[in-house]
């Protein structure tokens, strides 16, 4: 009897109090959403993030930046050369991946934009090794070869926080380039954009060095993915070599940068080391690139 009396009092009073509280919250929420007052600049902290964590002895802190190669497109294991490099360096001791900012289809212009993002800069400051793969899309993207299918970025990154449709998670890439579709390529058309792209790359390298002067930058050189197409072999080779040379010129002026050549790795073995899209390396191809990088790091 008394028990029920107290239950009733407790329930009625607490529910009335709760209802009032929730009503207040409701009114707050509705007015906040309907009449928002922008005041972020006042309340938020300015963005200059802190200097890298104290340089720990002998630890490789690796950060990757660049295009679909950095991302690992074409590798069925999804590892790409970045993960493989980290795994390889782990045998030497401590190595960890700070972040992989590879984005499918990134060009040198896109890279420059990326370098202004605070998150990217922050990640770069945490690293002492920066792996850079860029330029392929400048060289081949503008030419129209890849326009048909974008840059084959059908892979959904692991850990993406948005829901994934089952059908899109398939491992193969979107680009299915056939010889017939390839337009006429001349060395001239391939090289047309080169000076500007090289200029942007120089600027990017400069910025990276400014953001993190401590880090060593490894630039992954280009290979000619069209070596197996008769009419593209020579112009492709010429363009890629010209680009690599231009990069070499940029890099040689600085001490903490290394060009990792890949031209020879794929030379006559495209069928072995390219993935089914005839453009990106497959797992074995990435493995060879990462071995080169590891050699350069050691």
């Amino acid at each position: 009897m008394n028990d029920s009396k107290w239950t009733w009092r407790l329930v009625s009073l607490s529910s009335i109090a709760t209802t009032i509280l929730l009503l207040v919250g409701f009114i707050y929420a509705v007015s906040d959403i309907l009449y928002p007052k922008g005041e972020a600049a006042v309340t938020s902290l300015p963005a200059e993030t802190q200097t890298p964590a104290a340089a720990s002895g002998g630890e490789y802190r690796i950060m990757a930046l660049g295009d679909s190669l950095a991302k690992g497109t074409g590798d069925n294991t999804g590892n790409g050369f970045v993960k493989r490099t980290v795994d390889g360096l782990l045998q030497d001791g401590k190595a960890r991946l700070v972040g992989n900012m590879g984005i499918n289809g990134l060009t040198t212009a896109g890279l420059l934009e990326k370098l202004q993002e605070e998150g990217v800069r922050y990640a770069m400051r945490q690293a002492n090794i920066i792996l850079l793969s860029i330029g392929g899309n400048d060289l081949f993207g503008d030419s129209g070869i890849l326009d048909t299918g974008g840059d084959g970025g059908a892979e959904i990154p692991e850990g993406a926080s948005v829901p994934v449709l089952p059908g899109t998670a398939a491992g193969d890439t979107g680009t299915d380039l056939t010889e017939e579709e390839a337009p006429e390529l001349t060395p001239e058309s391939l090289l047309a954009g080169l000076p500007e792209a090289a200029g942007r790359l120089g600027e990017a390298l400069q910025r990276i060095a400014e953001i993190n002067p401590e880090a060593h930058i490894y630039y992954v050189g280009l290979y000619n993915p069209f070596g197996d197409v008769q009419e593209l072999l020579v112009p492709g080779n010429q363009a890629v070599t010209a680009w690599n040379n231009a990069v070499m010129d940029l890099i040689n002026t600085r001490g903490n940068m290394t060009l990792v050549p890949t031209f020879d790795l794929f030379g006559g073995h495209l069928d072995k080391y390219l993935s089914s899209d005839h453009f990106h390396p497959n797992g074995d191809g990435y493995q060879r690139i990462s071995e080169r990088i590891i050699q350069a790091v050691r």
Binding site: T7, W8, V11, S12, S14, S15, T18, T19, L21, L22, L23, V24, G25, F26, I27, Y28, A29, V30, D32, I33, P36, K37, G38, A40, T43, S44, L45, P46, A47, T49, K71, G99, N100, M101, G102, I103, N104, G105, E117, E118, G119, Y122, A123, Q126, G150, D151, G153, A154, E155, I156, P157, E158, G159, A160, S161, V162, P163, L165, T168, G174
Partner: protein, 329 residues
């Protein structure tokens, strides 16, 4: 002649003695630790990967989402969703605020966002679906309606008791998830800033009205919105409970409607008329977080209006049917 208050008291005591409310608390006490553990595993894994540096984690998240934008295989709506998501993450990063600062409060905030569409409505149903149909199943409705009390008063007392418990359920969800997740993530975090006021238009986000809100206030606002949603769900379940004779049938009807809502929300967009269904409008907290609405053209005002209309119609039908109907068995 008879005051409403004793009737409400009767209904409250019946809900309590029937252990419906305890069942809800029990469900929370069992399930929240599971969610907490899952969340703990996620944060452990990212701690290993990113050396407990949330900025790297957020940046990686941004990069991953950007990568998926270039794919042709992803539906355009999802790209829009990701573009908006990326912009919001970028905003948090630019302002050096960790959106997922691990704490009991953050967990609670995310838990509320995730449970507003289905989990909390299900808890509400556990009480509401039984209120009238339960009395009909056991036959006690005859005892109830042969007392010298007008039928509308009987029904109103039930409705008021239900609304009282709706508030208590919402509060319980918040408190239990805070207390349990706090064991793992710590009990601090009430003053961590959370950004709100993202104005979404198309696939860009207007940041001009974004502002920071301390997390306690954000929780309060979420609670308020969830309360509104819960009241509407309660009214609907109440109506079904009046219309349907058995509690089991009443639960099935409401459950089917709610689950249909989550499926429709995910399929979304193509069928725009679906936005007039109450089930796709339950995610009011999304407007606070700046999550794009499941169907183009939905705004907070729109969703609240849709919910309010459904709720009102439910009340009208409930009372019209209950006061007129013959109790045949």
């Amino acid at each position: 002649m008879i005051n409403l208050l004793p009737l409400i008291r009767n209904e409250c005591l019946k809900i309590i003695k029937k252990k419906r409310f305890y069942v809800i608390l029990l469900i929370l006490v069992v399930l929240v630790p599971m969610f907490t553990y899952a969340q703990m595993r996620i944060s452990e894994r990212s701690r290993d990967k990113f050396n407990s540096d949330w900025r790297l984690e957020i940046q990686q998240q941004i990069t991953d989402n950007q990568n998926s934008l270039s794919s042709d295989r992803i539906p355009e709506e999802w790209k829009t969703y990701r573009r908006i998501f990326v912009q919001q993450l970028q905003y948090y990063l630019d302002h050096n605020v960790n959106p997922n600062e691990p704490s009991g409060v953050t967990f609670t905030r995310e838990f509320l966002d995730n449970s507003v569409n289905l989990f909390i409505p299900l808890l509400i149903m556990a009480v509401a679906s039984d209120l009238v149909s339960g009395e009909r199943t056991t036959g006690t409705i005859k005892m109830l309606l042969t007392r010298p009390v007008r039928r509308w008063k009987v029904l109103l007392s039930k409705l008021v008791a239900l609304l009282m418990f709706v508030s208590l359920i919402v509060l319980s969800v918040v408190i239990i998830s805070y207390l349990i997740s706090g064991l793992v993530f710590g009990y601090k975090g009430f003053n961590v800033p959370v950004f709100t006021g993202f104005q979404i238009s198309g696939d860009t986000v207007d940041m001009s009205t974004v502002h920071a809100v301390p997390q306690w206030k954000y929780l309060l606002m979420q609670g308020g919105l969830i309360w509104f949603v819960s009241v509407v769900v309660a009214l609907l379940a109440f109506m079904v409970s009046v219309l349907v004779r058995s509690t089991a049938a009443s639960i099935v009807v409401m459950m089917a409607a709610l689950i249909a809502g989550t499926i429709l929300s995910n399929m979304a967009s193509a069928w725009t008329t679906a936005k007039y269904l109450f089930m796709v409008n339950l995610g009011l907290t999304g407007y606070l977080a700046g999550t794009p609405a499941p169907i183009e053209g939905m705004t907070l005002t729109f969703s609240m209006a849709v919910l309010a209309v459904w709720g009102l119609i439910s009340i009208i039908i409930s009372f019209a049917v209950f006061t007129k109907r013959d109790i045949l068995n």
